[in-house]
Symmetry: C2
Subunit: 768 residues, 2 copies
């Protein structure tokens, strides 16, 4: 059986491997010696909810209907190069079956391995092959990831907690050194988008590791070899400094356990044949020694080139790295050793896709990376798992295909201009990669909530075909992702509650549950609107400013009790008779768990009022209508402009921009203050650009960014657990900031030293 026939006998990949081929365009392929990476863009059509004011005769204030949503998604699929023919066949078959022949006349091809497949690709796909320079694609792809993907970059320190340290997106990407370790190694100096140069290389690379490894061990795959290395002890093979000197060679600063000569102990003694022939080295020790030798060597060269070219940042990528912890460990050790700790080598979560991304971008100038923001789709991306034996890369179950998907966001998102220090800002309060207890709790917590989510999903599409099946698929997918995170908490970047929430959202959307709470939100909004007149009247009756200010603050907090995202509260709310007063009564009495209310009061009482306040809202229903809107109304009354921000896309029962706009129009009918402010532009609803229960202020809608700056915003209010506790709790702003939330998770409340329904009312004056 020849290699070719053997390869072809493998089952063809199914639709799950190459998704959305029906609408696929702009194919690009990076053919490496071992792995090929296919890239394409596709338009994904899915159902979502449309909110419209057209009143029905059922008494609803507004209508929720199904509508089609189209998003643009970048697909990247990795498979073993030797299966390229099967994969091309599959693509062609799909194209035929769906009567959607490949739309373009050409396909971008890059990668050293691509030369010999040029004819095959042309023949199979009936397209012309446009070769793109490998290095150029690599850098293009690298720049795209560095600039666009949060948590793309990380440092790795074995046995530290966390082992992975993800780096913020660096606004000053250039210059850097990219060390691409494929079969051989390239050192590429990158000075700008257009200015880069392969300054050198070495032939001692991944091919050397795998080649020598194949000669020295019985390892069947590259990963087997790494697994061997993981178990080995190089000291049985390498000659250490102490083996020669009996200890350290201190006059030249060499410690005793430094390797003096790789494989030095394996040298055959010419005088003692009987002995040396008996001396069989363990395969795992040899593999370990080999890995160290090659890593040290590449690390040393990388440091020298970085030094010669005054580069402070070194990124490592290529087949040799592929997220292998041991490999990253040895590279990190080497770089630390050779730079005396001055440089931390950095790795990329998606380094395997650099060439494919670059080639794709070259063929898709209209997808101009700079025009849009991109979001990694956690549901469609395999993540940085502990490496699996590569024989599973192509298997009959497509779940083993390594995939990466980016969704194109409609707008370009920018950092919030109110942040005190945008460069050092990190949204998340607790790093679950580091905090083991918290990680265990939250992973279990999200696991426990899956069935509820499944139920809600089915309920929201009770009249739609296949909802149950899809909900089951959601459950399976999300569970799989959570289990991946249990194994490697850093699989999708730094792990935090925000990521877990977003991942759930992505998994729901993957199976067409774009807005499972739409009806629930509608119901609650309608209910809350009914209570608004009385609420406003009660508040207006308080003519003592202090009393009113407190009532507004308390109302803001009471509103925030209504949250379907909090399991324990959801259980209460499900009973159906939970009202605003009940919520108020649940609230902790002052002094609150975190209580800057007096400062807030003082500020509100002074003569100088805020110019403009931006409020990041949380939930639909009582929260937005009875809590936030009266609070905003009071600010408006004191001459402060108010920007109400809601999510651009639905998630949980969070109020969306669409919903907020409709709510405000109804409120303006009830309240002239709101009506006037709306008509005069003193009150505006804006889309945050986000679709998460949390708030990442590095990526908000650029119109919002402009508006904030334009109105000289001097107060930011962030409401709710997701936005003010899980994220932004530690965030510092140039202007005054109020973070208000009710703790609706018993574990978290305890952890913060409080109880269920403890209140966080954190007011901080701007420091700039």
């Amino acid at each position: 059986m020849t290699a070719k026939s053997y390869a072809r006998s493998i089952n063809l990949p199914t639709e799950n491997a190459f998704k959305n081929l029906q609408t696929a365009r702009r194919f690009a392929i990076d053919v490496g010696g071992s792995l090929a990476k296919l890239a394409y863009t596709a338009t994904v059509h899915r159902k979502t909810s449309l909110v419209s004011e057209e009143s029905d005769d059922d008494g609803s204030l507004y209508q929720v209907s199904d509508t089609d949503e189209t998003i643009v998604r970048l697909h990247f699929v990795k498979f073993e190069t030797k299966f390229i023919e099967s994969c091309l066949d599959f693509i062609q078959q799909q194209s035929d079956a769906t009567k959607s022949p490949l739309r373009e006349k050409c396909i971008k091809v890059t990668g050293g391995g691509g030369y010999k497949y040029t004819d095959l690709i042309q023949e199979k796909l009936g397209v012309q092959v446009d070769r793109e320079d490998e290095i150029s694609c690599l850098i293009n792809g690298c720049n795209f990831l560095l600039k666009n993907i949060p948590d793309e970059v990380f440092t790795y320190q074995r046995h530290e907690n966390p082992e992975y340290k993800f780096q913020a997106v660096d606004m000053n990407v250039f210059p850097y050194l990219l060390v691409n370790i494929g079969s051989g190694v390239s050192f590429i100096k990158v000075e700008s988008e257009d200015k880069f140069e392969r300054i050198s290389g070495t032939a001692t690379g991944g091919g050397t590791f795998w080649g020598l490894g194949s000669l020295l061990t019985k390892a069947k795959t590259f990963d087997d070899l790494l697994n061997l290395a993981e178990k080995g002890d190089h000291r049985n093979v390498d000659m250490l400094v102490k083996d020669i000197y009996g200890g350290a060679y201190s006059t030249i600063g060499l410690k005793g356990d430094i390797i003096a000569s790789s494989f030095g102990k394996a040298a055959r003694s010419p005088r003692t044949p009987s002995q040396s022939e008996e001396h069989n080295f363990k395969e795992e020790d040899l593999a370990r020694s080999l890995l160290l030798s090659i890593s040290n060597d590449i690390g040393q060269l990388a440091c020298l080139y970085a030094k010669l070219h005054s580069l402070k940042k070194i990124y490592f990528g290529g087949y040799f790295i592929r997220g292998h912890p041991l490999t990253m460990h040895t590279i990190t050790f080497a770089i630390n050793y050779w730079t005396k700790g001055e440089i931390q080598p950095m790795f990329l979560r998606h380094e395997g896709y650099l060439g494919a991304i670059g080639a794709f971008l070259k063929g898709a100038t209209e997808e101009d990376a700079d025009k849009y923001s991109w979001e990694e789709n956690f549901a469609g991306s395999s993540g940085l798992a502990h490496p699996k034996p590569s024989r599973q890369v192509l298997s009959t179950t497509d779940s083993e295909f390594d995939k990466l998907e980016f969704d194109r966001l409609e707008k370009n998102l920018l950092p919030c201009p109110l942040l005190l220090d945008g460069d050092s800002y990190l949204p998340d309060t607790v790093d679950l990669t580091q905090d083991t207890l918290a990680r265990e709790y939250w992973l279990q917590c999200f696991k426990d909530s899956i069935e509820k989510q499944e139920e809600q999903a089915i309920k929201s599409q009770s009249t739609v075909d296949g909802a149950e099946k899809r909900a089951g698929q959601f459950k399976h997918k999300y569970l799989d992702r959570l289990e991946t995170l249990e194994r490697n908490p850093c699989a999708y970047g730094s792990l935090n509650v925000r990521g877990l929430l977003d991942m759930r959202s992505h998994c729901l959307k993957e199976f067409n549950f774009t807005d499972p709470y739409s009806q629930q939100k509608q119901f609650e909004n309608e209910q809350a609107l009914k209570h608004l007149p009385k609420r406003l009247k009660d508040l207006d009756a308080l003519d003592n400013t202090e009393e009113r200010t407190f009532a507004l603050a308390r109302g803001l907090l009471a509103g925030n009790v209504f949250d379907w995202g909090a399991k324990e509260v959801a259980a209460i709310m499900e009973k159906g008779d939970f009202n605003f007063e009940d919520a108020e009564s649940k609230l902790q009495d002052r002094p609150w768990l975190m209580d800057n209310y007096d400062d807030w009061m003082k500020k509100r009482s002074c003569s100088k009022n805020y110019k403009c306040c931006v409020i990041f809202c949380d939930n639909s229903g009582a929260d937005i209508i009875l809590g936030v809107i009266p609070f905003a109304r009071d600010l408006l009354k004191t001459g402060t402009k108010v920007i109400l921000c809601a999510n651009s896309k639905p998630t949980l029962n969070d109020v969306t921009f669409q919903e907020l706009s409709i709510i405000l129009r109804f409120v303006s009918l009830i309240c002239p203050v709101i009506g006037k402010a709306l008509s005069e532009g003193k009150l505006v609803a804006m889309a945050s650009g986000q679709g998460s229960p949390c708030l990442d202020l590095r990526y908000i809608d650029h119109d919002l960014v402009n508006k904030m700056a334009q109105e000289q915003t001097d107060l930011i209010v962030i409401e709710g657990m997701g936005r003010a506790i899980h994220t932004n709790f530690e965030a510092k702003f140039k202007c005054d900031c109020l973070k208000a939330a009710v703790l609706k998770n018993r574990w978290l409340a305890k952890r913060l030293g409080g109880e269920m329904f403890s209140v966080v009312f954190k007011f901080e004056q701007g420091t700039a």
Copy 2:
């Protein structure tokens, strides 16, 4: 059988391995992981001839008698470290046997391997071990060789002619990078005698080559592995650029046959187990690939460190190099590749001894390298042979011991101040490493003359015991050396006639034939002195200046016909009735082969006379007495001071300084002009500092150097084939120069376009 008992069962080394132990002092040892190098100094007592004026009643003018000569010699012996115990035992036994216990209380020890032998050395030799820093010794030894030993440094270019290019002693040694490739590799930056630093290292070194080589092949020794590599083709194992790209990767300037991934083709394919298991790589290809991989790596690092530290000179040494042509080739290839030809790596003939030399010098401050000049004893030094399988390093025939000997010269020798450009001066006219025809001729010529030399040696010591045996040993030794040179013409540096002559001289002295021509010279001097009065009278009778000047020049040439060093002339002279007139009649008629006589005549006729003339004399007998002395006498008459230079040590029938002094005193009895000049200091005899039939003007006696400068020497006369043809033929001087010689070798005469007894009379005016 354990390694130890196995090693001890080898026959102990004999006296020939560790020579002159009776007078050995200042032991130092460099214990490497594989090889140990022992160093010591010894006083060598040997018979030489003493010339004295005490007249005997046999009518002799002077007496030649045997006397003892004592020279100081540095011995370096290399052996496998594992035999250190046997060697120490032998040294101790010798010490006991000759009742010459080790004179010092301590021994200098350096080298990484020395730690574990400290106790053994102390116990065996009963001395205290003084450890010296390895790097410091290495540099000390390196500086000593760079500064003192001609042809120490060479570049290596495989397939070029010559492959070895020896470098002149560099007066500006610093700064340089020393790359010492032992088991591991050290990069040492050397800025001055005292300022050096190990700037880095790598564990990928000789131990890695031998270690991995032992795992990948069945090679029994390091040299076997190199021999395998010599036969291999790395392209069967390495993945080349063209294997990936189908050709060159021209956008980044990588040629197709550049290695992209060392061992890349050896990678096991996980899908085709049956195939890959069948794919057996040839051991020689693997060895070649391994050698290239390691050499490339070290070369690349060396270039980077050189660049980072702005070093233009890189010397390579260590066990990995050891003069192995293939290793030097791969290193040279790598350095050329990585520096784009800007740097030529340099190798040292004696690099294996750096540490030992350095350690020795540290223990022997009174042997202060700067106070003396040192001469490599070709008879006692193994030379840079094609590497032998290392199992022969210690064998029952001691000839396989690798040895190095330096003789301490009595004085510090300095470059001749009259040279136009001392830095670029090279004494030798023909480079026999490059000129294959000439090499073949001369090697054969010297081989053919061995029996004559043997005869002369025996004859000169007809009354001394063992002369025949020793002469036989001489013959064997010199033949061995010539055969070594046939195999590797560069074994002792750049090959030239001077070296062949000196080597013969060294071999004769090695077996106590210090002055085989002493009686012959005595006889001829006596004969010539008898003819001097008539010769002077005849010359004085010529009152025409032109006639007399020509007669003097012709006489100088006729005298030079008398030369026992020229085989064909020796045959004539052996008949016994060859006189000065016969010699004159043999001379070529004008125009001579090289004839600047008219210029010389013109110069001699002009009113301005020379201030001082230095004459480098050639042979005893007619040459000095009837040729040179009348010539000098004429110069003295015109007011020119004359310095007659003769060899400090005997060689062939060349007149020595001792003999010249006595001759001049006799001549002064015959000729008042000479007598007056001698007594007034206008004529002086001086020792040249040399003991060679040739003349290396880089190394002459410092008193002579001072005298030349002091007397404002404005004419240099160099006489004879050895001094004016084989060497200095192309030399340029600041002052006027006359090179006069008669071609007494038919082959050489032909080559220069002449016949036997063709005349070279090369007069050049000074250019400064």
